[in-house]
């Protein structure tokens, strides 16, 4: 069974985020006074093949720890969704 996965990697609270701060400084200039608290992170899309969603999540969480994140400064949010489209599932 195949799952579409979204991994959101973000800086832990308290870790300085220069990219987010730079975006935030540009907001008033562009007229976005209603936007605040910008934090920049990474997003990975991938496909995992596993017998069930629990196994799939374990594999992706292991991947996060070992490759996608730096656990000292980052944490990750993993979202899995079963592929339902048969054309996609067979590819």
């Amino acid at each position: 069974m195949k799952f579409d996965v979204l991994v959101e990697v973000r800086l832990r609270a308290g870790i300085s985020d220069p990219q987010g701060a730079t975006i935030e400084k540009a907001l008033p200039v562009l007229g976005f006074e209603s936007v605040s608290g910008v934090r920049a992170g990474k997003a990975f899309r991938l496909t995992v093949e596993a017998p069930d969603i629990v196994e799939g999540r374990l594999v992706v969480e292991d991947l996060c720890r070992r490759l996608l994140t730096n656990p000292v400064i980052e944490d990750s949010i993993v979202t899995l969704e079963a592929q339902t489209d048969p054309a996609k599932a067979s590819s």
Copy 2:
């Protein structure tokens, strides 16, 4: 009313993704044979203040077009969620 926003920015289909390709090349070495189709993108977290969720989404989509994405090679997925925690909403 305040909304917590997640903006996922990803490369359009067909645009080459060297970061994703590099991660994918490392997967078999690390024993992740069940993972494939890695695409790397960006994730932004922010807060928007708006009268309702429709207005909030319009502001964030405008922000995506003008600042967060390069519409030639990227598209964005915007998710809004109303802040429910009163301590958070008043901050």
